[in-house]
């Protein structure tokens, strides 16, 4: 029988599990100084190169600002791919997945913890990139509506990490393909989301590309944030993006949940929750 106290206890157990998994992520990924340095340092090299290039060919300083914002946001995509999607595969290989399954918590809370930890971690790196832009390259930012910036940022992350959870559950029962798929999704999204262009919705970008890019929450969120922090736009001009992001979340999150449940029962049916028999 399900009663009030049980539901409350279940919820609190799941939140504890999510918190613990977040903590693992924060602990683990900030312990290795080399990894940390490369995670912050390498994107900065790429971004710095674009900023200098745009400056050299005489584009306005706002082009550099767009790349800084793009670089900061694309870091979240890298995180979603490598630390959400393919992470689940690693967790199974390690035998952790079975331990999550015998425990009385939902796997969704584990994924949620991974997402929270990952996004917090990446936020620190993204902040590094933005500070670099402001202080080293002196790119101009112009924020009139900080609340909207926060809102769009939050919605973009929620949509991205929902997509990450969906990928994670899809990859759950697969082997090395998971890595290859993650690899496959990395560069095209860098390109399609227009992270390194000044703007994706510019006349020079082919229309087909704009449409393809718009299927990724990253592109929508990035465009809105750029307009908010570079052009000083306000919520009145970016509400379509806000709605699109909310729609993404409303579709992706339940989809991730369903796919996780489905994969779990498939795993239990076919005996594929460990790698031992593959």
């Amino acid at each position: 029988m399900i009663s009030g106290p049980t539901i409350r206890k279940d919820l609190s157990n799941n939140l504890r599990a999510a918190y613990a998994r977040m903590w693992v992520r924060l602990r683990g990924s900030n312990r290795d100084p080399i990894a940390l340095a490369s995670e912050i340092g390498l994107p900065i090299l790429t971004i710095g190169a674009y900023v200098i290039l745009y400056h050299a060919i005489g584009l306005p300083a706002s082009a550099g600002a767009a790349v800084i914002v793009g670089g900061a946001m694309i870091a979240f995509w890298t995180n979603v791919l490598w630390n959400m999607s393919s992470q689940w595969f690693w967790e199974r290989e390690q035998g952790n997945l079975e331990m999550y399954m015998v425990a009385p918590v939902s796997r969704m809370s584990i994924l949620l913890g991974m997402a929270l930890g990952g996004s917090l971690n990446t936020a620190i790196r993204a902040l590094g990139i933005v500070l670099l832009g402001i202080f080293v390259f002196q790119v101009p930012f112009q924020v009139r509506d900080p609340f909207s910036v926060g809102l769009v940022f939050f919605l973009t992350l929620a949509a991205l990490y929902s997509l990450g959870m969906l990928f994670a559950s899809l990859f759950m029962l697969y082997g090395r393909e998971a890595w290859n798929t993650a690899n496959l999704l990395q560069e095209p999204v860098y390109f399609l989301s227009g992270a390194y262009f000044p703007a994706i919705y510019a006349p020079i970008v082919p229309f087909g590309l704009q449409v393809a890019g718009s299927l990724i929450p990253m592109t929508i969120g990035l465009d809105a944030i750029r307009r908010l922090v570079i052009n000083g736009a306000s919520i009145t001009s970016i509400w379509p993006e806000v709605l699109a992001l909310i729609a993404c979340i409303l579709i992706l999150f339940p989809l991730a949940r369903h796919s996780l449940n489905y994969m779990e029962s498939l795993g239990k049916k076919e005996g594929r929750l460990t790698l031992r028999w593959q």
Binding site: A17, R21, R27, M99, P104
Partner: protein, 332 residues
């Protein structure tokens, strides 16, 4: 624990007609991993599943711990159905698989244990106390702040065991827990489990392919082969049942030229011979229906041209049981 007649202990695990198939190599048909398994395990019991590799031990444990669905039949944990009531079951169980080391290499022993304790909703201080206790019991104190990745295999396995106890489960599944473990760690584990079961209201289901481990640790043992449970009882009763109370050890020299002739003596149930090359002495182990066959037997041995050096009744071992049921020995 002594129980008066008519008193029945609570059932902790119950399976009825349990069957599990796996897809085999294409064209070869399905693999029958479990076949008509009927099992009853009670509270306060350490129950051992003894069988060779591929017998179906892990498959049974996975079904009981809600990680795998049965193909047919049913299984209950404390009266709860493993298929329909998995979430309730998960609150009461834990699982340790020997040779696996779940956790995060970059985290320390303490951090890993804390993480796993949080999957069971243990309050912070309570979890800390329990972890301290477990770390003491498993003698992991010196490694508390060592990263898991840097631990030796034995200590990783100890950590894995500590994880298994972290929610103080009512039912603990141990799948070959001493596999590949050094002698000291293995002894440690056995003592720990035996001590833990005494705290009351606990059940341990253990799988092993070590005879001595099953004999020494388990209140009851099920012998499993090809997915079937062939016999199930206390080690003592299994031994007496099979041996019929008459296992003998006879030392002879030289060895039997025609062992078949001895085996075929009416009333001889089983025979194994073991030659010691250095001393030239051969030890025969015999399982007899009863002792009335002894004179026939001894004359047959003399017919083989052998001299009897020494003879005596021997204690039957679990290995005798196993050989008589499965037909071959259980190779390590």
């Amino acid at each position: 624990m002594f129980l008066g007649p008519g008193l029945k202990r609570d059932l902790s695990i119950e399976t009825k007609g349990l069957r599990r198939l796996f897809k085999g190599i294409p064209g070869k048909g399905d693999v029958v991993a479990l076949d008509q398994v009927d099992l009853e395990v009670y509270d306060d019991e350490i129950f051992g599943l003894l069988g060779p590799n591929g017998a179906g031990k892990t498959t049974l444990i996975k079904i009981l711990s809600t990680l795998l669905l049965p193909t047919q039949g049913e299984a209950r944990i404390k009266g709860l159905d493993v298929v329909k009531q998995a979430p309730q079951i998960r609150r009461m169980i834990n699982l340790v698989s020997g040779g696996e080391t779940p956790g995060y290499g970059i985290l320390s022993v303490k951090e890993n244990l804390w993480f796993f304790s949080q999957l069971y909703g243990l309050p912070r201080d309570f979890a800390k106390d329990r972890i301290t206790k477990l770390v003491d019991q498993l003698e992991l104190q010196d490694y508390l702040n060592t990263r898991m990745a840097k631990l030796s295999t034995g200590y990783k396995q100890r950590l894995n065991l500590a994880r298994g106890f972290v929610n103080d489960p009512a039912l603990l599944f141990l799948d070959e827990p001493t596999l590949g473990l050094d002698v000291i760690s293995a002894r440690h584990l056995r003592t720990l489990v035996k001590g833990w079961i005494k705290t009351g209201g606990k059940t341990v289901l253990l799988t092993t392919h070590y005879m001595a481990e099953a004999d020494q640790m388990c209140d009851r043992v099920g012998i499993i082969n090809h997915g079937k449970i062939l016999a199930c009882d206390t080690p003592q009763r299994l031994k007496t049942k099979v041996a019929g109370g008459a296992t003998w050890k006879i030392e002879i020299t030289p060895n039997l030229s025609q062992p078949e002739s001895v085996k075929s003596v009416q009333g001889v149930l089983g025979l194994s011979q073991n030659d010691n090359i250095e001393t030239g002495i051969t030890t025969l182990k015999l399982v007899l229906e009863d002792e009335s066959v002894m004179s026939d037997l001894l004359s047959k041995i003399r017919d083989n041209g052998c001299k009897v050096l020494n003879m005596g009744k021997s204690e039957p071992t679990l290995e005798d049981v196993y050989i008589s049921l499965v037909g071959t020995g259980l190779e390590e």
